[in-house]
Amino acid sequence: MANEVCFRTLHLDTPWSIDAYESVGGYSSLKKIAAGELCYDTIIDELKLSALRGRGGAGFPTGLKWSFMPRNMPGQKYVVCNSDEGEPGTFKDRDILRYNPHQLIEGMIIAGYVMNATVGYNYMRGEFYEPFARMEAAIAEAKERNYLGDNILGMDFNFELHNHLGAGAYICGEETALIESIEGKKGQPRFKPPFPANYGVFGRPTNVNNTESYASVPAILQHGGQWFLKLGKPNNGGTKIFSVSGHVNNPGNFEINMGTPFKDLLELAGGVLGGKQLKAVIPGGSSSPVLPADIMMDLTMDYDSIGKAGSMLGSGAVMVLDENTCMVEVAAITAHFYYEESCGQCSPCREGTGWMSRVIHRILKGDGRAEDLDNLDRVAGNIMGRTICALGDAAAMPVQGFLKHFRHEFEYMIEHKRSMVKG
């Protein structure tokens, strides 16, 4: 089944309006809370049961994350939504913001209620002008109906929500860099621990989730954790929005059940462009290692299945590559991206991303040397696990992935000074 959670208003006229949202049961979870039918413990239990996992990339169980927030600690606490959506290939959060902003808002209010936090920030990437406007309008609507503001629905609970536009840095999607950016500082990740749950925005306990994670919560509480879990498979609950791009006939966002075979998703996206052969897929955003077609065609779309195959579901950005794609070229583009986006704080990432990018580009120019490939693999390995934030890993993993599955293309190019596929 499709469009059952975050996209459930999509079939309606003006799906972003508060009326459209309420017509599918929107804000009913919040009302249940106000009526005393849902308390802190039940919410956490339902979330844990639902097996909702963070949609921002790492797939961390959301219910567990929420339970880490010291809700009884006195003082200000914050709820932050990560709508930075910087991972190349990902464009799902944009459509939630554009087409169903209220579901995100309800999710964040519930988070605020659960964590005893009265202020929320929605951090959107710098280019999101249109979603920003939609969100602002939606917040105004929600305030009018007392879903936001003081004494929400008569409860002894206040919550205000602010939209914040970033300035176009991929690293600001990393949760602690995002927090620094909210504070008005240069977007640079913090060393963890302490984690945001203990030391977040302005040093106060802060919960950071992805847009899709928050937006899934109202539906879960409306229909129950069990319902959500059943949409997907054990440990991989619910539906997931996949942003399919690349060589397909019908690129776009598809909200489908977790565990749907990749074959079916490819079909939904209209199959490979021009009827060509599928060569490989980058299954979860540019930082996930590439998987060759034969492996991919046997997989289902969920964290565990893709993880077992040596890649990641990540943000759910599925990039389809056809038979004419030169993998050295894709590797070069990917490496260049991380080189440009490294914040530069820690040595392995600052120096290593530039090194990898330069070597791959040199190979692409026809100046490759036999020892380059082992060296690339080694440099990538030396970055892995030795950096402050996961951007280092994100830069290293795809390089190792390309080398693992398509080393022959690199070797060919080094030897013949031209692409194996493009001639």
């Binding site: 840095a169 240069k186 080189y339 530069g344 120096e351 991303t353 530039g354 030396n382 402050i388």
Partner: protein, 730 residues
């Protein structure tokens, strides 16, 4: 604090909960390589050099950012740890120039040292290296930013220690550059500490750039001579030529820091024109002569003038760098020769506190305690320009405590003030008295009747009350007066107010003093009212009297009253008009040659042994680091020989140690006495014109600093920190 038990490289250790692995290892002398970690700075964990292997963790972790936990077993040299360390070293070197022989840091570079252990002989990096444009950040610090490894120590220093963000990182990734914002020069009074912090050759000392290699240098421990802290230093010299001065760690005084003034003043020794021979002025012309001739002339002139005036018409003025030994010998010689006209306080207006026999140095509590004050009240204190490192300590306390100020000028602070009052300069005592009145209202049982009567009729407002309340509330609180107060016409009144307020509010109190050895000079007896260790003396003439009323004969010991006294113009005239002026000086330039009749070359700072006593009363002796040039001799030796020529007995000292030991014995017999005032000093209204409206500039305080070239080129040199325009007169 709780303890945990851990093991590093097989060594069982006890560690405080919350400490990082690297701190525990450092204490146990187990070296973990590092670049970004520094014990005085926050943890940045960005270089990743300190990776160690913790049992049961899948990956190596940074030792500087990983807190210890009970039972932790750490290996700093396992294959896993070494692999991580080597990998990081390789990354750091790919964009770093490998031309150590032409780098000024070569030989003392943390990167160079570690690369010997962790680097490979052959670079596997064959791409182009990053080049970064150099920046001109002023006369003190040379930059070579291509060598920067982005450890951000310099950035954190400004942000955390100084509170003035002069450095920052701009750009991201490989394009990240460390520099000043908008190409500014670096101006803080402690800026050059980033030279020591920078682990590589990106930031080096400009005055000593390319002058010597680290391994050619010898280091001599010494004491800095430009403020009353007495910062501990090493003088680095190559075969007697001073190349640079660096801090010597002393947690209780300068920690690991040094003010720019203390660091670069040594340049004055070579940049000022040195006096190399004794000189006598004959018919208006200077002639070199031998010591015997010069000293004979001085002795006979002294005898003549002292004899003819019953001691009244001759006087000695001690300069700001004078050692305790020099002051002790000078006063002893003068008193034995029949005069009590000796003083070092050429910037004091109020002498009404003289004669009580106090020898207390200035502070009744250790400087370190400033770090943890809950409340600090500054009175007439421009700490950043007077004792720059004290300002850093007060700043530390403002992390949780309060700092307050009653300053009759627009102070420049590197910490936040909770309360600030800016009275007119002549109303400082009156304003301060309101705080005492407020404190009396809050704690009426503390003051005696006399004090209460004194306070009668003084009104206070909420701000005064808040200041008093903060002092009372603070578990640790203090009142700190600056050099400005000591120059104020009502210095004694303000001192009394501070002492009294301290007793009412249970606070510590103290005052900062001019120069590096005010305490030593006073203990030595270089004052007209008392001899060594507070001993009795008939009242001689004060510096003010000597300089404004004029004498027939003067002896100046490293003193240039025409520049550094409050009455510079009058002083100049009176010195010119005098019959005889002998200057014991290191320099042949300035205006001394205009008015002196004899100039005797004495050793400068770092060229003589001696003792400075700091504002807390710490006696710090030092040996000469280098030899004085030409015929110059240590001041104490010159004074000793002169005493002999004056036919005075008891001057058979063979070393400066003998001199100081003699004084120490006298001092120990009386102890660190402070004789309190019995009656409160009169509260008078002073004329605006008589109040101090100008203090000595940061780089004007003594003959050596005034001749230090690089310091004189900094923006701070050209402005008086407290100038007329900034002092409140309306």
């Amino acid at each position: 604090m709780g303890k945990v038990h851990i093991e590093i490289d097989g060594q069982k250790l006890e560690a405080e909960v919350g400490s990082m692995i690297i701190e525990v290892a450092d204490k146990a002398d187990i070296y973990i390589p590092r670049f970004c970690y520094h014990k005085k700075l926050s943890v940045a964990a960005n270089c990743r050099m300190c990776m160690v292997d913790v049992a049961n963790l899948p990956k190596a972790v940074p030792a500087c950012a990983t807190p210890v936990a009970e039972g932790m077993v750490i290996d700093t040299r396992s294959q896993k740890a070494i692999n991580a360390q080597k990998a990081v070293m390789e990354f750091l070197l790919i964009n770093h120039p490998l031309d150590c022989p032409v780098c000024d840091q070569g030989g003392e570079c943390e990167l160079q040292d570690l690369s010997v252990g962790y680097g490979d002989d052959v670079s596997r990096f064959t791409e182009g290296k990053r080049v970064v444009k150099d920046k001109d950040i002023g006369p003190l610090i040379a930059t070579d930013m291509t060598r920067c490894i982005h450890c951000t120590r310099c950035v954190r220093f400004g942000q955390e220690i100084v509170g003035i963000r002069e450095f920052g990182a701009t750009g991201r990734g490989e394009h990240m550059e460390i520099g000043t914002y908008i190409e500014e020069t670096v101006e803080s009074e402690v800026s050059a500490n980033i030279i020591d912090l920078c682990p590589v050759g990106a930031l080096t000392a400009k005055p000593s750039q390319f002058k010597a290699r680290a391994w050619e240098l010898r280091q001599a421990p010494s004491i800095a001579a430009h403020d009353c802290l007495g910062s501990n230093i090493f003088v680095h010299h190559r075969r007697g030529e001073i190349i640079r001065v660096v801090p010597r760690e002393n947690e209780s005084i300068n920690e690991v820091w040094l003010s720019d003034r203390d660091r670069f003043s040594y340049q004055g020794l070579t940049e000022g024109a040195r006096l190399l021979n004794p000189r006598i002025k004959r018919n208006g012309e200077w002639e070199d002569c031998d010591w015997q001739t010069a000293l004979n002339l001085v002795a006979s002139e002294m005898k003549r003038i002292i004899g003819a005036s019953n001691g009244n018409d001759f006087g000695i003025l001690m300069g700001n760098n004078a050692t305790t030994e020099e002051s002790y010998l000078a006063q002893r010689m003068l008193r034995k020769a029949g005069s009590n006209n000796i003083d070092f306080r050429t910037r004091r207006r109020d002498y009404t506190g003289d004669g009580r026999g106090s020898v207390r140095s200035g502070m009744n509590f250790p400087m370190e305690n400033l770090d943890t004050m809950d409340a600090t009240l500054l009175i007439g204190a421009d700490l950043r320009h007077e004792q720059p490192l004290t300002a850093l300590r007060v700043r530390k306390s403002t992390g949780y405590g309060k700092a307050m100020a009653i300053n009759p000028f627009d102070g420049e602070y590197n910490f936040r003030l909770s309360n600030e009052l800016q009275p007119k300069s002549n109303m400082l005592a009156q304003e301060f008295a309101c705080v005492l009145a407020a404190a009396d209202a809050l704690r009426p049982e503390s003051l005696n009747a006399e004090a209460k009567e004194w306070l009668d009729g003084i009104e206070f407002n909420d701000e005064h009350k808040e200041i008093a309340q903060n002092l009372i509330d603070g578990e640790a609180s203090c009142i700190l007066m600056g050099v400005y107060v000591q120059e104020h016409p009502q210095a004694e009144t303000i001192n009394w107010l501070a002492e009294t307020l301290a007793s009412v509010t249970d606070s510590d109190w103290g005052y900062m003093t001019q120069g590096c050895n005010a305490a030593g000079n006073k203990i030595a007896g270089a004052v007209p009212c008392q001899s060594a260790a507070g001993g009795k003396s008939e009242q001689g003439k004060t510096a003010k009297e000597m300089l404004t009323e004029g004498l027939k004969g003067y002896m100046l010991v490293n003193c240039e009253p025409d520049v550094e006294s409050i009455w510079a113009e009058q002083a100049l005239q009176n010195l010119k008009d005098a019959e005889f002026v002998v200057a014991l000086t290191s320099f042949a330039d300035g205006r001394v040659p205009d008015y002196a009749n004899v100039m005797l070359p004495i050793a400068g700072c770092y060229e003589t042994s001696g003792t400075y006593i700091n504002v807390e009363g710490k006696w710090q002796s030092f040996a000469a680091a280098v030899k004085a040039p030409g015929e110059a001799r240590p001041g104490w030796k010159v004074l000793r020989v002169l005493a002999n020529l004056l036919d005075l007995s008891g001057f058979e000292y063979e070393s400066s140690l003998q001199v100081i030991n003699e004084l120490r014995e006298k001092f120990d017999a009386v102890g660190d006495v402070r004789v309190a005032r019995k009656v409160p000093p009169p509260m008078m209204v002073v004329n605006e014109q008589e109040t101090n409206r100008e203090c000595l500039g940061l780089y004007m305080v003594d003959p050596l600093v005034r001749r230090a070239g690089a310091l004189q080129k900094t923006p701070k040199a050209s402005t008086h920190p407290i100038s007329i325009s900034r002092v409140k007169t309306r």
